[in-house]
Subunit: 239 residues, 6 copies
């Protein structure tokens, strides 16, 4: 069965990266994975959370959210509901952990970079687009800090990119769109560093449990996708 | 004293209107008043709130919000604070009231249009850009409804546009940017219909109380600005 | 068509002002505009909010609320709902802004006056009665501070009073009662200083948009009403 | 040691009862126990909570709250804090339980009476004044219902009144004012029916545990106080 | 009519006390009154709340809660509801007040003991089992503090125990189980010190008001029950 | 380097399973993985959530929570904070997804099983102990339902067990205790079915990114641990 957009199983959707989309943020990028559109903003603060003070170390944290009409049908705002939902918090925590894997806190100095990933439009893979874009926003914010002498050495040890993979009709596929996401038997999000190691592996049997062979196939596919995204990140950053 | 962007006192900032910015929403527009950028989405629902049921009448409502890094410095998310702030609610109510002035509820049928105005970047006048853009998103949603036979006659009696005016160094100015907004002695937001009548007039003495002459000058300026925006709305809608 | 209480269109309802209604508050007044009854209390604190510290400047703020059975039918308590509603916050902000227009922060010293306006009974015009009463409570609190040497010169530059006006059956009327308020085509709240200048002008088309002539008539009526209320405030304060 | 207001140990403070203080409520009373001033409003609804439907039985419930400046120093509003405090809820529950002791739910029909007790000024004994006043508001609301044929027989089996007692310097005293309340070693609130039986007895050792003899003395004193309040309630109700 | 478990009217349910049920807490006990099972944990902190600082005095506080399936039918979690319910807060306050009656704050030093009473299974009398168990957890925590030289003399002036009593079919009964609790006409919780004085007496007419004779009978019964529990506490503590 | 409790790298901690720990719940188990102690309760309801009605399908959901003193130092209650934390919600969602992998909704009929996993004491691996215990509670609840004719065929397709694995000093270890958990470079939670397939794989680089070889070693170790736990579950269930 062909994919909805006729991609090969191991093919990413078109990726579009617009750096500097915001005038005020120290780093910002509008990243698109096909129809998924995430605005990532990096905000620099010359202080750290209370529990981190006088440690000489910096901090990086992230928040994820979705505009109410990012999806097919409107969702109520979480500010109106009175709290961020479980899914929102889970993804915020995932983005934070993933991005922190590329940071040298000592080189960052006692500064905080807050990453805001707001999904303007959702078509599957919002969390992986958010991570991939957040790294670029962070890189720009770090460059901004370097220009102001706020860093001590290189705060970015490596880069980080993420992609989703899944099994549909027994076929392992890369970078699922929404239509594929809802029918996948197994769904996995993988975060890799620029040198191809794993930061996060989150696999879930949506339909039926998966065996080791399927798991291995998905990991291979994801590693390849992350490597491609790493190249696109480097190009966007003009390296 | 010249304006920060060298505009004449009665000159609007460049207005940019991109219709259909979202794939899923029944109506959507990305509207820019200079550096202010608001994404307006209209969501149609074929039902009305409980208090409105079996009345044969429709409903239109609005919510306004700002992304955390829309501004110079980052603001905490209202979902994290646990409630929309007073300013947010006040502006949401203003947009709803303003937009409802152009709606014939009977012609709308027992349907609801929810308008979401999310400020992606803020540089003064976010609420007036939101109102001006929300009207266009609503017009597109109404066209969508008409195509599905959901309306009974013409639900839009008129159009609605809004602009801010203020007094700076004794001079009445149209469409304040952020830099002007913070130093204005008097700040006024005016919402007008397409035929030049008033829907809302909200004037506030920020610095010192204002007299009737100043009030009159501001009202003249605002009426002119709204008339210009009405033309831009009609052009964007291809009329 | 006659008014429900047979008043002339430009006639205020009977105003009753009882100073010192509370034993503990530094200033307090029970103010009545006809059936509308608002208890205004001024609380003095010899400190200022964090963002104001070491500025040498004082602060004045306000909160508005309504008892659950102030109205015809009972409203749920906002403490039980878990947050102040949008209308409550909007009016609290309006009262605060209005009252601050008469304050010299330097003369107030680094002290805060908190104004609490609690509506015991509502019959239209609660926000304007609250502003008119809050000024008196503030004046008494300032006198109390002066007696303790907490002020530096005169903290009250002017006085502030407020009134509602509206158009009903094409007629501009002063100080609407609830019965009139619900049928008004246009509804406006105006806040003036003792010398007749404007602090706030908030006009809303409830039924149909209004033109400049109607707006002018309403502004004239409101200015007259505020002037009368200013006289009553001065009398109540024994000046 | 004399009492702050020179009362005898078994003497109530002056009690003032103003019925019909509100125009809209089906029953209302402003009750004063010395400086304590509580506005009690009874709201009738011709329905019952979901869990009570189709039972043929009515319901009575109560909410207690305090205005922010009822006390010597200002308290933050519970709506702003986001929830009613523990003390508030505890007293609301006490008032509800106490008042329900005098109600025949069958005779009330499937109607609800909601009692709102708002403390305008606090000088000790606010909960006992609230219960004593709430009974009168309820009696007026029941009369209102009777006039509309909403009741089936007599919904009020008895009356209910409440008073505080306490031990100060070894002396048992009736109806403590705030100054006494804060120094009492033992503090007790007692709710009695009109025929002298107990509905609630809540005794707390504030300073040191109390023995049976002290407990007995306090119960005697409270029973006498409640009997006096019952007479005042009947007089106020014109019986 | 016999009791559900054939006890005599003045007989406690089997009491089981397991000290040291938790590995980390400074004091902990799993206490059972028949089918009621409460886990009490005492946590020591070498600081006091802000309002208590630099007073040389310690503090003791308590929180009560129930697991969702402690009861016959599942209750929603209070964390999910967004706030502790009124009953929960009322009981937390009762436990705190009761336990504080046996504490010498000076001897405790500027330390806080937080008591957590979590009901794992409920079969009536959860608050009295919680108080009785919390005293033991506190005693163990105080011993732990003494071993670290944190105390100045003996922080425990006395012991505290609690029991419920009630009138069922005209008979006064000790230590009601759930089945009895729901049918009791009068329900009373009594907290006593080890030397037999009263700390709290909370009697409520559930069905019909009670007279002085009934009250006296219940107090006698409760005092006896607390005396028995005091013996069991001392045995458990190996005294 | 030896493990804190001298276990072999591939050795589970002592597992203790007490079925029927609660009298009221349709299924309940107190499960211990070493010092970790989780009370799992299954509550049966003969209805399904609104979105599931009239589908002929059942539902299974889970909530996870921790008592405040389950850990070394006390944590504030989430009911007091006003919302379940991100970690709590994330684990609740994980347990729900994991357990649902063994359920045939059709055979369950239109009934809901709610699983409550409350951590009484935490020493690492609380979420995996919760999943392993929740399956047993569910099995007992399903047996209870079968006895009442509520099921249609066999609702449990398979069993589910979970274990944590991690890399410490380069060594892959099974079932980490808290002391190991905090120093692990990589931390992974794996959920398997009784027949050895994967339901969830969640690996996180805590210290440094991990390569494919490490990932493979951890997956092998986890699969073995889950197989052992499956045997223990079957024994506990008397199969």
């Amino acid at each position: 069965m062909a994919r909805p957009d006729d991609r090969a199983p191991d093919q990413l959707r078109p990726v579009r990266i617009q750096r500097g989309w915001l005038d005020h943020a120290e780093g910002s990028v509008l990243i698109e994975f096909g129809g998924t559109r995430v605005l990532c903003a990096a905000s620099v603060q010359d202080s750290v959370p209370r529990w981190r003070r006088d440690s000489g170390l910096g901090w990086v944290t992230a928040e994820y959210a979705m505009l109410p009409r990012a999806t097919n049908t409107r969702n109520e705002r979480e500010s109106v509901k009175g709290r961020p939902g479980g899914r929102t918090q889970e993804i915020s925590r995932l983005i934070g952990r993933s991005i922190r894997a590329c940071v040298d806190y000592k080189a960052l100095g006692e500064n905080t970079v807050q990453l805001d990933c707001d999904v303007l439009q959702a078509d599957g893979g919002t969390r992986t687009a958010a991570i991939t874009g957040a790294y670029i926003a962070l890189a720009d914010a770090v460059a901004w800090m370097r220009g102001r002498g706020m860093t001590k050495g290189e705060p970015l040890i490596t880069s980080v990119a993420a992609v989703s993979v899944g099994v549909i009709d027994g076929e392992a596929r890369l970078d699922l769109c929404y239509e594929e996401d809802v029918v996948a038997q197994t769904d996995m999000n993988v975060v890799c560093t620029g040198d191809g190691r794993f930061v996060e592996v989150q696999g879930t049997a949506e339909g039926r449990p998966f065996d080791r062979a399927e798991l291995d196939a998905l990991l291979d596919l994801a590693a390849g996708g992350c490597a491609e995204l790493t190249v696109l990140q480097q190009e966007a950053l003009g390296r």
